[in-house]
């Protein structure tokens, strides 16, 4: 499947996000499938940043390891990204003293990369522009290389900078200067144009969560900012005039979790979002939720740890932490999203299941899932009706006794009602308690209560869906994975199918309680079975091997802060079939 890959590289603060947004927007408007993601350091200005945009005629789920075309907004970009360009690719830049960089010309010649230089600085200055507009000059030139007409670029620029008319005027002049630059041998791509417009929208995973939460009736969002979860707060806050949702930026993560718990207990829908370090702080609150059996939904957007780790990079290192954290033995549900669509769907399921089963639910995502922009058709998502598991009929509410709240039942789940909706009292006690919530330390009842809570696991496991199988029933090599590895895997499977290599893939979205029997069945049918995980040890592999007693043939692990590329998968496959 053909795709073209662009990379816009520069220091943070050079306007590369604006350029990237314009480009992604136009390409989508033209009818291409677009996938974009950013790599950036944990800084506000300076440092090294880039935005990659893969586009083509069919679905693109992951970024390519190599790019066709790079525009480098500053000097560092030149050498840094040369290695990432394919043979025969193009590097567009505006660095005047490029002749001084010996390696540049040599490396470029060796790898047949065409260097296109334009004195963008002086052009921008002569047109009355600032340093920020250097990127507009280069953008114009890049656009010509892509072989597209100038008009859509001008229109998109007008839209992007509509509220800055003076800057807009100069921006347009800069773009034209770049596009129409004379005296350059400009290679031109002939990229096939789309025949129809896909109906998807281009959003990132955090937007998927925000939209799913709004749809599912969340009315209060409390959060402390932490990369890569912070934009959920921004999105929901920006929507709040339209939605009327209560948004509170809490003073710390413990406050956020406690406020979510208080609001959820009281009968509205609420959630918070954080990363691994913030979730660490919330674990006592999760334990309390487990004891009082109140709903509590937390989005855990992973980034590599430990400690402060890599705030702006990606990984899947927190799976075991999500499952096993919080003192005491009690059930919780752990889910993992892999793209904006599953973000949109799983947050809705999380809110339902937390209420129906009265357990904390952790929804794992990853930096690459949070921030990569992907095409999704939310309208084709299955309808997920709101389920709350509450006693609501007047008759039932009137008949309640306070001992109904934590009654010892077969399923483990007792009746729950909104405080104030019934004349019957309700005591949610963090201490171990009797059926009516009153403190209890008597041995037999302590044991019975603990068992009741744990019985929920069987009830929940039965109700959760099985992991999904992608690809043929029989394959030359098989993989199991969770979260974002699905994206590179599916893209790689397309490439491998063209090479007549058969691959199938078992993808888990419900990580706990885990339906490991599905893995055992898959393992039985597919002996050349491997795990693919974006972490150091193969955390899901450990869990599945432990639960099933079966072993993986190999582990494709990546833990350098980057997401999987198709190449990672195809290289591994070559070595293992």
């Amino acid at each position: 499947m053909n795709r073209t890959t662009l990379k816009i590289a520069g220091a943070s603060g050079m306007g590369l996000l604006s350029v990237g947004k314009i480009v992604a927007g136009i390409l989508k408007g033209m009818g291409y499938h677009v996938h974009s993601d950013r790599e950036f350091p944990s800084l506000i200005k300076g440092g090294h940043s880039n935005m990659q945009i893969d586009f083509g005629l069919g679905p693109i789920r992951s970024l390519s390891m190599h790019t066709d075309l790079v525009i480098a907004l500053d000097r560092d970009g030149l050498m840094e990204y040369l290695g990432a360009i394919r043979e025969g690719g193009v590097l567009v830049h505006g660095f005047e003293r490029h002749a001084m960089i010996r390696d540049l010309q040599e490396t470029a010649k060796k790898r047949k990369i065409r260097l296109l230089y334009l004195p963008a600085h002086s052009i921008a200055k002569s047109l009355g522009g600032s340093d920020l507009m250097v990127n507009m000059v280069l953008l114009g030139l890049m656009w010509r290389v892509l072989g597209f007409s100038l008009k859509p670029l001008e229109d998109a620029t007008r839209e992007q900078f509509a509220d800055k008319p003076q800057a807009l005027d100069i921006d347009l002049k800069c773009i034209r200067a770049g596009y129409q630059a004379k005296g350059l041998k400009v290679p031109q791509y002939k990229i096939p144009l789309p025949k129809y417009k896909p109906k998807e929208i281009l959003i990132d995973g955090n937007m998927g969560i925000a939209l799913g939460a709004i749809k599912a009736g969340v009315r209060a969002f409390y959060a402390y900012p932490m990369s890569p979860a912070s934009s959920i707060l921004m999105y929901l806050a920006n929507f709040s005039h339209k939605t009327g949702m209560l948004i509170k930026q809490a003073e710390d993560e413990i406050t956020a979790a406690q406020m979510v718990l208080g609001s959820s207990f009281m009968g509205t829908r609420s959630f918070t979002a954080t990363s691994g370090g913030g979730f660490d702080l919330m674990t006592e609150t999760v334990s309390l939720a487990g004891m009082i059996e109140s709903p509590l939904v937390i989005v855990l957007a992973q980034r590599p740890g430990p400690g402060t780790g890599l705030p702006t990079w990606t990984g899947q290192g927190d799976l075991k932490m999500a499952i096993h954290s919080s003192h005491g033995e009690f059930p919780k549900i752990v889910l993992a999203a892999s793209d904006p669509k599953s973000c949109y769907e799983l947050i809705q399921h999380a809110l339902n299941w937390s209420e129906v089963y009265q357990v904390p639910v952790v929804l794992l995502t990853e930096k690459t899932v949070c921030e990569a922009q992907m095409m999704v058709d939310l309208e084709s998502s299955p309808k997920i009706p709101i389920e709350r598991g509450l006693v609501t009929s007047k008759k039932e509410l009137a008949a309640l006794k306070s001992s109904d709240r934590f009654k010892i039942t077969e399923s483990g789940i007792a009746k729950r009602w909104i405080p104030g909706s019934s004349a019957t009292g309700y005591f949610a006690n963090g201490d171990e308690h009797a059926e009516d919530g009153v403190v209890n330390e008597a041995g037999p009842l302590v044991a019975a209560m603990a068992e009741r809570r744990l019985r929920k696991i069987a009830t929940i496991k039965k109700a959760l869906p099985d992991p999904k199988v992608y690809g043929p029933k029989k394959a030359d090599i098989s993989f199991v994975g969770w979260g974002s590895s699905k994206n590179a895997m599916l893209d790689a499977m397309e490439m491998l199918t063209e090479k007549k290599v058969k691959v199938n893939f078992l993808h888990y979205e419900c990580l706990w309680p885990i339906r490991h029997e599905a893995f055992a069945a898959f393992h039985k049918a597919n002996p050349n079975i491997h795990i693919i995980e974006n972490n150091l040890q193969g955390l899901l592999a450990d869990i599945l091997e432990g639960k099933s007693g079966l072993k993986f043939k190999g582990r494709l692990l990546k833990y350098d802060g980057r997401p999987f590329f198709r190449r990672d998968v195809t290289d591994y496959v070559e070595k293992n079939i």
């Binding site: 749809k215 207990f265 104030g420 009292g425 403190v439």
Partner: protein, 303 residues
């Protein structure tokens, strides 16, 4: 004047006997003899009844501590009680209060919970002016864990874990809160049930975050500030100080002349919910609003 008032209150309590009894739990008491918690809880029950609250109108939120052990001793019939984590009751209660402001949320915690484990929550709850009542049970020690010093323990007296006594000056709870632009700060004493009742009534009527510090007797672990010690020092404010500066002056002395009463009240400042531009004119509470919403208008910008 005070006597007339008392008589009127008792008459009213007698009339509302049934409601009052609903607030009383049937669980065995686990507080020490002479503990200030009895009187504080009784004063709260009286204040609630006199202000016209029924058990179903109230949510009691407790922290971990001796005060928290009152969680199963109040509002047995028709009430809702939430007993949470140590130092965190204020945020838990705030979340509940914001979800359903029709129910009166009352949070209680000790000095250890509030000023050691969780001062951050207090600070921001005062600033946010969440609509709730917070009762600070100040018995100047961590009593439930058998008498360690807290941030409010006086200097020099041997405590569990500090056999030489603490070397740091204690905090002054009301003065600390007065530095945060609060809207209601008051102080009372567990040995005076009538005064506590009166203060709590005013606090219950307040729209916003109402903090009431109860100087609480702890005969088991805090022998220094005994009932006699307090009686020599407490005095009642004749009027509510009009400015924060005057309030801080009135609150400052905890050694010789300890002022009790409403230290400061701002009735003009809107509560947290009333400050939100996104909730202006909204008549429903968050608990009423859980249903499926159409996101079409929000996704239009991406098309």
């Amino acid at each position: 004047m005070m006597n007339q008032r008392k008589i009127a209150d008792y008459r009213q309590l007698a009339e509302k006997k049934d409601e009052y009894l609903k607030f009383e739990g049937s669980q065995a008491i686990t507080w020490c003899e002479g503990c200030g918690n009895y009187a504080i809880q009784k004063a709260l029950e009286r204040a609630l009844v006199l202000e016209g609250f029924k058990t179903s109108d109230v949510l009691f939120c407790f922290d971990v501590g001796c005060s928290g052990n009152g969680s199963d001793k109040i509002a047995a019939m028709g009430g809702t009680t939430l007993h949470g984590l140590h130092g965190r009751v204020i945020s838990l209660a705030a979340g509940a209060a914001l979800a359903n402001p029709r129910i009166k949320v009352i949070a209680e915690a000790g000095d250890g919970a509030t000023f050691s484990e969780g001062p951050g929550h207090l600070i921001h709850a005062v600033r946010s002016n969440y609509p709730m009542l917070f009762i600070l049970h100040n018995n100047e020690n961590f009593a439930l864990t058998t008498g360690q010093a807290s941030a409010l323990t006086r200097k020099g007296f041997p405590m569990n874990g500090s056999p030489d006594g603490v070397m740091t000056d204690p905090m002054n709870a009301c003065d600390f809160v007065l530095g945060l632009k609060p809207t209601f700060v008051a102080r009372s004493f567990s040995g005076d049930i009538n005064h506590m009742t009166e203060i709590l009534r005013a606090a219950l009527r307040h729209n916003g975050f109402a903090l009431v510090e109860m100087l609480q007797l702890c005969p088991t672990y805090n022998r220094t500030t005994s009932s006699a010690w307090f009686r020599e020092r407490i005095q009642f404010l004749k009027s509510v100080p009009k400015t924060i500066e005057a309030a801080r002056k009135a609150a400052a002395d905890l050694e010789r002349h300890i002022n009790l009463g409403i230290l400061y009240q701002d009735t003009k400042s809107p509560n947290f919910l009333e400050r939100l531009p996104t909730r202006k004119g909204v008549k429903t509470a968050l608990v009423d609003e859980v249903k499926a919403y159409d996101i079409g208008k929000l996704t239009a910008q991406f098309k």
